[in-house]
Amino acid sequence: MKKYVKGIKDDIMTFLLLLPAVFVCLPIILLVTGSVMGNGELKQYLSPVFSDGMEFISWKIVPNYPTFENYGKLLFLTPQFFVLFWNSIKMVGCILAGQLIVGVPAAWAFAVYKVKGSRLLFVLYVVLMLLPFQVTMLSSYLVLNRLGLLNTQQAVILPAVFSTFPVFLSYGGFRTIPMQLFEAARIDGAGEFTIFRKIGLPLGKSGLLSAMVLGFLEYWNMMEQPMAFLEEKALWPLSLYLPEITWAQAGYAFGASIITLIPAVFVFVWGQDYLEQGIIFSGLKE
């Protein structure tokens, strides 16, 4: 009997927690339905928003005339959309690859070699991780200007490669490996680089992958950096272009939003465990 009551209590609790959770995800439902609505229907529902009347916005969860015309237009009639999509992929890809090459060894150094001064350096990395973009905006601009990289995509990629956030996350992963393993390998005559490659990377990959997952979501959503350093719109990532679409092209905006969302959702679903792991690592202190 008691167990039964507990079962019901659990169900109620689940329901109570699920309710706001569903509410949290409401926006995505709006986006999906909006993207399969025809332009006429969209205009009818949305016109109160951009005309100055007293009437309210309205909506249908199932459109009267579902259509894929928005997607069709986007995919077949707007080549610049592909350019922007490709820009996003390219920049995010380069940033993540760079972070792997640069940040992961640094994380390894912090996790394995306790030398004089490494603690101090670690504190510096933590502080840099926590500084918002606005504080370092001018300094980034100055150096990019001197290197002649302004208004090229490298201006967005390079500073991000040296972000210390992935260092911190990968560090969390490496810390889960028992130190004795390295000692044993050293006694067997393995060099430091071999230990990194053969023991560190395979066993510490959870930190590395979580850095990649969190990094993807962050840079796919990047706005401040391209806004500051890329003048030419043809170089922009999707995340910066989307808001430029006006109400008059609402259908187009919904479709573009969904397409922008797809890679993020894919990474989210595939990497959720790493995402959670990464969040937990981001909270670790040494």
């Binding site: 959770a21 995505i28 030398v115 926590l130 100055l142 430091e192």
Partner: protein, 294 residues
């Protein structure tokens, strides 16, 4: 002989550390540290001619109305948002920690983290415009209860915009916070809670006497990371209201961006030094609190 060997090992360790560290550190030196020194130097010179002018730039920004307003708003936003997020997260994480089927619920709360800001802005506009869903809902509620008439507040163009930002911040970051709280709660040894139960402690007692004190470490983490994420609210603010929004949501981020666009590098340098220095002190203080706890 022994010390010699030890010496050798220490040297080898140091060598390996520097080798693995080098690419990252050199990059940071080139892209962050050295240019920041340059910024520091510039904060004492004029923007155009580069002449030394002492602390004039600092005087200018502290008497600059926009700067004072932006600092005030950013403070207000942080002070409101972080406690709110911390409490909301804990309120969800506590019951969630006892559920077996927590996974799906957790995913739903985490999902906003994956949604790019640009895709969500159109939805916020549909909710918060004068003729949007929120007013529609409130008006219908008023009709139903007979307590008020039609509501046509313009949430994005009035001081309510601040609360729209607070809402979208909490919406986006709740999942992050819940995951961190959950990790903390599940890290508390079960025996402790069992023992308290045997001793006759009520649920509330064990919450306040055992769970909360054990979560101090998580709290520091959550506060720091929430703070880090709070600066990213600029994306929402900018996309919803542009570069010169309603004055209640004119944040430091707007100001920096506008100075950047107008090439006001002297003010920007001074402000970057001030904000950077302030954050540095806050982080160090938090770290110190954290260390002394252990």
């Amino acid at each position: 002989m022994k010390t010699h060997k030890f010496q050798f090992k220490r040297n080898k360790m140091r060598g390996a550390f520097f080798l693995f560290m080098a690419p990252s550190f050199l990059g940071i030196l080139l892209f962050v540290l050295l240019p920041f020194l340059d910024v520091f130097k510039r904060s004492f010179t004029t923007a155009v001619t580069g002449e030394f002018n002492g602390i004039q730039n600092y005087k200018t920004i502290f008497t600059n109305q926009a700067f004072v307003l932006a600092v005030k708003n950013t403070f207000r936003f942080t002070i409101v948002c972080i406690p709110l997020l911390v409490i909301v997260g804990l309120m969800i994480a506590m019951p969630l920690s006892r559920l077996k089927s927590a996974g799906m619920v957790k995913s739903l709360y985490l999902f906003p983290l994956a949604m790019p800001t640009a895709t969500i802005v159109i939805v916020w506009k549909m909710f918060f415009y004068k003729q949007g869903f929120l007013n529609l809902f409130l008006t219908r509620l008023g009709e139903l209860t007979g307590l008020w008439g039609e509501i046509h507040t313009d949430y994005l163009g009035s001081s309510a915009a601040f609360w729209v930002l607070v809402f979208s911040y909490v919406w986006k970051n709740t999942g992050y916070t819940v995951v961190l709280w959950l990790a903390g709660i599940l890290g508390i040894p079960n025996e402790m809670l069992e023992a308290a139960k045997v001793d006759g402690a009520s649920e509330w007692q064990s919450f306040f006497k055992i769970i909360l004190p054990n979560l101090k470490g998580s709290l520091y983490t959550i506060v720091i990371l929430s703070f880090l994420n709070s600066f990213k609210i600029y994306r929402e603010a900018y996309l919803v209201a542009g570069a010169y929004p309603e004055q209640d949501i004119y944040l430091l981020q707007h100001l920096f961006n506008n100075w950047f666009v107008n090439l006001d590098f002297d003010k920007m340098a001074a402000a970057a030094v001030c904000v950077g220095g302030f954050l540095f002190i806050v982080i160090m203080l938090l770290q110190h609190m954290w260390d002394s706890r252990e």
